[in-house]
Symmetry: C2
Subunit: 440 residues, 2 copies
């Protein structure tokens, strides 16, 4: 039964037999529970070392940016080992990592990552969007594959400002830099190199890998946390472009008891071939269908929402529940929260139906088909950090194409007002606690 | 439907819509099908470059070897990219790989590997055991996650001898070396450093990783194949030790439509926490149970066999079929083949019942429990390269322990004679085509 609680990431380490076992039988601290790690140092942010890049690059024109191809001049690295815990954090020139051929990440996929965006408002102030959600998930992911957890929590609460501080070196040094998530030095707020154009942002990619130098399968005794930054342009530079989905039953993204609820590398490599195959059939993404009833789970690497109109005149916004297969997406949570705040009256959104029901429940293809046939399928969309909201206009399913309504600009009557509020909060034009200023 | 054929690794690229699509729409050759790769060079073995280690290490005493912790002084690397294909193969001193922080293996788990053993017989002659099986599987694994396939096939057929040849440099140079899989230089056949003690062998670990320097999710445009060697001792140094299994329903190793049939890194990281959890409850390994009927699939990282006695006096050797969730293990295939050759009379094995039925079929816990209760459960064992055969003496299932019979030395009446034949063929004491001499 404690295994069951592990699966849902609801582990309470101190009270479980596993933690007791490790505490009594093992001499070496175990990275899975952190139980014996209290005697090893957490990340010592005051030991942060910064080495400036000797030959900074000229940032490419913002209109040439391709997602994830360009990186800023500096990166953050923090090594960890099971004996002494976290080592010295370093901000240093972006460059190759030196990894032993036996490093476990290369053999057994001991890797997890996060993706979040830093936005700059019109006044030049830089904010992260709900970074607490990403860091909470990063801990959960780490626990699932036995990478260090507990010290990472400290990193989460204390490292943010220091990271921003150190990245700011680049900005202070040159007006040609494009890699700051700090606005502390107010005298240079327009010269960060952070892409200035509307819709541009800085994608932040923390990654944690197992680096044990031995190919036994087990919790690694060494790990490396690194953070790289990538300036990115708007996903839909030329307006929203609805996507066509291939209802996929031949391959899975996740299954009960698996790792779908965690942002682990293992969830991504297996999706490439199915995605290419869907592309070959003329579809953009996989709609991952689960089980004999073909329940909808996710879309490509995004969470998924459906809107139905009901006979009583209401509309229902539906997304699958966090049952262990679904990634707890930050955008997913934001969409749900905004819709519920609208319904409850905490903050009503302009142009959104007042007769809205918000559901986290399973939905299958039979229901989708029936709703489409009855004219009660209002819209469908994917939700994720890269794209924010991605409207769907077609599902290829069992040899036929199901057409999904889209609004005139691609978005529908529920996604449009939610998207408007969401991007307003991301960009700081709508003040909210979700927008967390970096080192103010 | 072509997606379905992909899933079973029964892809016939030239006839599929996907391949046609790529051939007509893509300029850059795609690593998934190899369709456009005919114009890029395959591995050019005659370009092999060898750099000898300047400061070879003294091999540790064989009795201190821990699996996968010690590596030989040299490794093989072959880079690949989508434009020019495979680059120059190099044998060089074992040392760190230089990988960009954006390398896709570090984020999306684009990695696969193989594990095989080289054995040295009493005359000093070195052989690999069924390497064709490993290389066939390596191609299948590569196809499943869009890493380069076709050129790898050439590697398989031609590289073996050259690798052996180059590794032999170490052996020729010094009597203190421990890293040769060659016996070409007959004048020094006892001075290779290959562990001489009975039961010792050289574990060969080819690994293929995606190294694209951009964090978009897709087929990588760069990859690296590397091979490292690790001298290993016998798994059961002090006689067979039966293992206790935890019947695991809370976590999965694989599911239909997933990657269980491929030797990918993604199948390993998620198993570490379940294994530690089973260990905390006093069991050695997970018995991965699938579906509502709790079908047996695999044991830890091994294939699994069960032996039943029937009312008609026969015995049935059962292993789950290769239905997409089961790794096509070389040891699994060897056990099945030996048992079938015994039954058919091709080669009868001493001390093995003549009234034997060999089945690849599903078997569930209800059947196991019923057989145990009726005294018809003869034995259970895991099968894999590291351990060869691993007897099972207990299954923890749904809160109770099911005791599994074991012979007096741990092995049972079916596993014992099959193991004897199998290790004889591995060590060359029983001549067979499965033992492939290295560079004779």
């Amino acid at each position: 039964m404690f295994l069951h609680s592990l699966r849902g990431a609801r582990l309470a380490p101190a009270r479980l037999p596993l933690a007791r076992y490790i505490a009594t039988k093992h001499v070496v601290p175990d990275p899975m529970t952190g139980e014996l790690m209290s005697s090893t140092p957490d990340i010592q942010v005051n030991r942060l070392e910064v080495t400036r890049h000797p030959n900074p690059a000229t940032p490419p024109p913002s209109n040439t940016l391709v997602f994830g191809h360009t990186f800023t001049d500096h990166m953050l690295t923090i090594p960890w080992n099971a004996v002494s815990g976290w080592g010295t954090p370093e901000i240093k020139p972006y460059g190759p990592l030196s990894l032993e051929p036996s490093a476990t990440v290369l053999h057994y996929a001991q890797t997890l990552f996060e993706g979040m965006k830093a936005y700059r408002d019109e006044q030049g102030k830089v904010s992260l969007f709900r970074p607490d959600m990403n860091m909470k998930r990063m801990n959960s992911s780490a626990r699932r594959i036995a990478l260090p957890v507990r010290a990472l929590a400290l990193f989460i609460s204390t490292m943010k400002e220091r990271v921003a501080d150190a990245y700011a070196y680049t900005r202070r040094r040159s007006t040609a830099r494009h890699c700051s998530i700090s606005s502390r030095s107010s005298s240079a707020s327009t010269s960060t190199g952070f892409p200035k154009e509307p819709g541009h942002s800085l994608y932040v990619r923390p990654t944690l890998i197992g680096t044990q130098k031995a190919i036994g399968v087990g919790p690694p005794n060494e790990a490396l946390l690194f953070v790289i930054l990538s300036p990115v342009g708007p996903y839909y530079a030329a307006g929203f472009k609805p996507v066509a989905l291939y209802g996929t039953t031949e391959f899975i993204r996740a299954a009960p008891g698996g790792t779908g609820a965690y942002k682990l590398g293992v969830n991504y490599a297996p999706g490439v071939v199915p995605q290419k195959a869907a592309g070959a059939l003329g579809y953009s993404q996989n709609l991952w269908l689960h089980g004999p009833d073909h329940e909808l789970t996710e879309v490509g690497t995004m969470n998924m929402f459906v809107v139905f109109s009901k006979e009583d005149g209401s509309m229902e916004l539906v997304t699958p529940p966090l049952d262990g297969m679904i990634l707890p997406g930050v955008t997913r949570d934001s969409v749900l929260t905004l819709a519920r705040e609208h319904v409850s009256g905490v903050k009503q959104l302009p142009n959104l139906s007042e007769n809205l029901v918000v559901s986290e429940r399973s939905v299958n293809m039979k229901e989708i088909k029936a709703a489409a046939a009855a004219g009660r399928l209002v819209e469908m969309f994917g939700a994720g950090t890269a794209v924010v909201i991605s409207p769907v206009n077609k599902i290829g399913y069992m040899g036929e194409d199901l057409h999904i309504p889209t609004g005139e600009d691609g978005m529908g009557p529920v996604s449009r007002p939610i998207w408007t509020e969401l991007v307003g909060r991301q960009w700081g034009t709508i003040p909210s606690e979700w927008s967390v200023p970096v080192a103010e």
